[in-house]
Structures are given as C-alpha cells and as structure tokens.
C-alpha cells in the first residue's frame, strides 16, 4: 500500500468512527445542550401572564437570594441528603460485610436484595404511604404493640424528612451494599492473612485495614447516591408533594412547582440551574476525594 493510500485509509477510518458516535452526540446536544442553553436564556428573562418576555438580567438570581422558600428548600435538600446518605452508607457497609461473609449467595437471595431499587421509586412511595398511614397503617400498629407511641410519619412536619429518608434508605441501602460488596471481593486476601498472623482482632482488622481499603468504593457509592439524593423528587412528589405545609419542599420539588404549577418559567429556570450547579459541584468534589483516597 502506498503512503497516500495508507493515509486515505486512516482518514476513512477516522471518519467512520466519528460517524458511529455522531447519532449519540447529535441526539444529546439536541436534547440536552441546546435546552440547557435555552434554560440559561430563560433564566435571564421574565415572562408576563400574556407570554410577553422581557430581559431582566440577573434579577431572577437576586430574587432567589431573597426568597425564604429557596433557602428553606436548600435546607430541606441538604438535611434529607445528609441523613439519607449517612444511613445508606453505614447500613450499606454493614450489609455488604454480612453478604461478604455469607460466601455463597444463591440467585434468589441476590434477587431479593436488588428488588427494592429495581422497583419504581413511585411504587416504593405508594406502598410506604399505606404502611405509614397515621391511623390505619401497619407501622403504627407495630409501634403500639411494642408499647411505643405511634407517629404521624409523613403527615408530621417534624418527622416527614426522617421518614422520607427512611423510605429512600429502605430502597437504596442494598444498592450501596452491592457496590461495597464488589469492593470487598476485589481486596487482596493476603492483607487479611497478614493481619491474622499479627493477631489483630476482627474489629481492628476492619477499622485499620478493610475500611481504608474500601474508601474508594465507598466514595464511588457516595457519588452515585449524591446525584440522586440532591435532586430528590419521585417519592416526595408521590407521598407529600412537599408537605405538610412546605416541610419536605426540596429544591427540585420547589423548582418543579414554580415552573409547572405557577408557570413562572424565568424564576424556575434560575432555580433549576442553581440546583444543577449544586449537583455537579458535589460530584466534582467527591471525584477529587476519590482520587485522594485511591490506593
């Protein structure tokens, strides 16, 4: 093959490869990149009820800073995020250790543990709505038969956030556990053998050896959960719609309602872009952390 023919073949191949990823890229740009730019534009405008738009600069953002409902939404989002994440990580690592030491996991057991997070969050919301009903639900019946006071659960402004966190934890802890289990299974057994020879206790082995080695996996699980938790929507929309009052009005729920219930498109765009910045900020921060704890 001559040199010219070789470069021609190379060019052709490069072109073919570009053509292969083109549909996915064009689709994503059309469906995402363009709408995001449009959202930025919307966020700089105000729309009257007759549909007339006017450029308002950063007014939507300064309104956001003065909006008590925004700060409340941010607080609810962060409280729900931290509570759910901590519960899911602690219980997930525990469950992963239990699964790890069980050695053989029959398919039926694995299917059981993936069932919560394979069902739609909407369904999880529906079923917990019935279980947690303040007057007729099974949860309060169990509390009462144990001699404990019943709870208002989702109907209580104080308990709604912990309750939603509990539902999400029920749904996603097995997911965290399976990720951590993958990390456990990839640890070199020689490390344990050395610890055993040194006579380290089980707890010490976990604290000094297993946990540090697992950190990258735990950070991975944290990133994957953070993305979902910071934009919490489905379970809340199905169970409380942000209530009672505004007690569970996360930023995502608030932005949705501003946009699609109050049709305040400019302000909703500013809210959604702010939430997006928070999500990506968290992902980037944890990604750096993952680099720092890698071994």
């Amino acid at each position: 093959m001559s040199k010219a023919a070789a470069t021609f073949a190379e060019d052709r191949q490069r072109l073919e490869l570009a053509a292969l990823s083109a549909p996915a890229v064009i689709f994503t740009v059309a469906m995402i990149a363009f709408p995001v730019v449009y959202t930025v534009w919307l966020g700089l405008h105000s729309f009257s009820s007759t549909g007339k738009q006017s450029f308002v600069g950063l007014a939507n953002y300064s309104r956001l800073l003065a909006d008590a409902e925004f700060w409340h939404g941010l607080w609810v989002t962060i409280a729900l995020y931290v509570l759910s994440l901590v519960l899911q990580l602690v219980l997930g690592v525990w469950l992963a250790l239990v699964l790890f030491h069980a050695k053989r996991l029959p398919g039926i057991v694995r299917s059981l543990f993936i069932s919560p997070f394979m069902m739609p969050p909407v369904v999880a919301g529906m079923m917990w709505l019935v279980i947690l009903d303040p007057s007729l639900g099974a949860a309060n019946y169990i509390l009462q038969s144990l001699g404990l006071p019943p709870s208002e659960w989702l109907a209580s402004p104080v308990w709604v956030i912990p309750t939603v966190a509990l539902i999400d934890t029920w749904q996603w802890t097995p997911y965290v556990a399976l990720i951590v289990l993958g990390g456990l299974q990839s640890l070199p057994p020689s490390v344990y053998e050395a610890a055993q020879i040194d006579g380290a206790s089980a707890f010490k082995t976990f604290q000094r050896i297993t946990l540090p080695l697992l950190l990258p996996t735990i950070v991975t699980a944290t990133i994957l959960r953070s993305v979902d938790l910071l934009r919490f929507f489905d379970i809340i929309y199905i169970t409380t719609q942000g209530g009672p009052g505004n007690a569970s009005n996360t930023l995502n729920i608030y932005g949705f309602r501003v946009g699609f219930e109050f049709f305040n498109i400019g302000y909703a765009s500013a809210l959604m872009l702010t939430l997006t910045a928070i999500v990506f900020g968290a992902v980037l921060a944890f990604n750096r952390l993952r680099g720092a704890v890698a071994w």
Partner: protein, 275 residues
C-alpha cells in the same frame, strides 16, 4: 477466595442471623403491598391489620374496570420499548467508537446529561414540544426517555467492548473489513450478553422514570408511572386497588431484574465496580 480471619462457627451463625434480619426488612414492605392487593376491600383498612384472610382478585378486577389501566400499560410499553431501542441504536455504535478511539468525551457528555436534574431540561422541552404540538405524543416521550437509556447503554457496553482483544479487530482489518463492518459482524456478537444487560437496565430505568411523563404525557398517552399519581387521590377506601396498581407496575422491572441479577451490579455502577 481464602477465608477472612473470622471463621468460628458461632460467628458464622450470627452472620446468618443478620442476613435473615436484613432479608426480612427488605422483603416485608413489598410482601405487605402484595398481601394488601389481595385483601377484600373491607379488610385492607382493618385495624389492627389482618394477616390471615381469604385472598381475592377483586382489587385487580376493580382496577381494570374503573381505570384505563390496560391502555396506560400499553403506553408505558410503547415508551419504554421505543426509548430502549433508540438508546441501543445510538448507544451501541457510540460505545464501540469510544472504546476504539479512547476518545471518551461523547460518553461523558451523555453521562453528564443523566446527572443533571431532569427538571432542568423539562422546562425548555415543555416550551419546545408545546410549540410544535407534540405534548402528549409518543415521540416526545420516547425522545425524553432516550436521555435515560442512552448513557446506560453506552456505559454498560464500554467495558464489554474494551474486553475484546485488539488483535481480533486488527485481523479483520487486514482482511479488508471496514470499522462499521467490524462492529456489526464481529464485535457485536461478542458482546451479546452485555447488550442483553444494557437492554434490560435501560428498560427498567425507562419504565421506572416518573418526571418526564408527568409533564409530557396527557390523558391519552399517560404512562403507568405518571398515572400512579391518579390512583392515590382516592383516599384510604381504595387501598386495595392502589396496592394492586403498585404491584402490577413493579412487576415488569422486578421480573427482568431477577433474570439478570448476576450481571446487574457491575452494569448499575456504570463500570465503576467490576463485580
């Protein structure tokens, strides 16, 4: 794998006990949902709740009689299968090209789209689809759900394509095979199991997705998930039908997930964990 340091028999039993407790916590709410869906309507709201009852399918019958449940289900199937197919159509060649060239930005672009809150695109989509009169159309729903399925397909298939030895492709190139031909004739059959896992995960997450259909569907094109919201308003007297609806909506993803459970975890973490 060699034994971890803890080997004593009673610790093993303690571990098994913890496994059983975790299993019960995971299983009970789902079981309660299914049980409630099978209770006669006067018993579903009985307090204290009953465990022993004569099971009946009246809730399921009521659901199909009083709501267009079947047509919601058909809508869900159309949107889910359509968006999964679109995700595969765009995702398979893209994953192959990324794996071949090691130029990863197209894959990262689709993943970033998946990480942003859905409400971010929903506003402009709503405005745009309304302008062209596509609100409530299957096309709008399938396109929006393909945003969910595309990154799943790409990121599940990337490690599969990466796993094919380069020499296989080089041999084919020597024989005069074009890159596109290599993908469809040689690479794709080799990653068939990966395609199966990707399809099922894409199906499950498209089926489960709530937000887009909530806004972009209307009375005629409402998906099951978006319609679920309508079942709730009825109050506690309708608990039986509500739980019947919940059970039926959860069934397709649960059955599919059980089929591929062994390969699911590495697919779900987008390759972050090699299970």
């Amino acid at each position: 794998m060699t034994d971890a340091p803890i080997t004593d028999a009673w610790i093993r039993r303690l571990n098994l006990l913890q496994l059983v407790v975790a299993g019960i916590i995971v299983l009970t709410p789902t079981l309660w949902m299914v049980l409630s869906s099978l209770k006669p309507s006067f018993e579903v709201t009985a307090y204290p709740p009953t465990l022993i009852f004569a099971p009946t399918l009246e809730n399921y019958a009521q659901l199909t009689k009083t709501t267009p449940f079947l047509s919601y289900a058909i809508n869900s199937l159309i949107v889910t299968i359509g968006s999964t197919a679109l995700g595969l159509l765009f995702g398979i060649p893209a994953a192959f090209a990324v794996s071949w060239t090691r130029i990863s930005w197209p894959a990262i672009l689709t993943l970033a789209a998946r990480m942003a809150p859905g409400t971010l695109f929903l506003l402009p989509w709503y405005v745009m689809f309304r302008q062209v009169g596509m609100i409530g159309s299957y096309t709008a729903l399938i396109l929006s759900h393909a945003v969910i399925t595309l990154p799943i397909v790409i990121w599940v298939l990337l490690p599969s394509f990466d796993g094919i030895p380069r020499s296989v492709f080089e041999a084919a190139q020597v024989d005069g095979c074009s890159v596109t031909r290599i993908l469809w004739r040689i690479a794709l059959p080799l990653v068939a199991s990966g395609v199966a896992v990707a399809s099922i995960l894409a199906f499950v997450f498209s089926w489960n997705y709530f937000l887009f259909a909530l806004v972009l569907s209307n009375g005629d094109s409402k998906t099951l998930i978006a319609a679920a919201f309508n079942f709730i308003g009825e109050g506690s007297t309708q608990w039986g039908a509500l739980m019947a609806a919940a059970t039926l909506i959860a069934l397709p993803p649960l059955i599919l997930a059980a089929l591929v459970q062994r390969w699911l975890v590495s697919g779900l973490t987008l390759g972050a964990v090699k299970g």
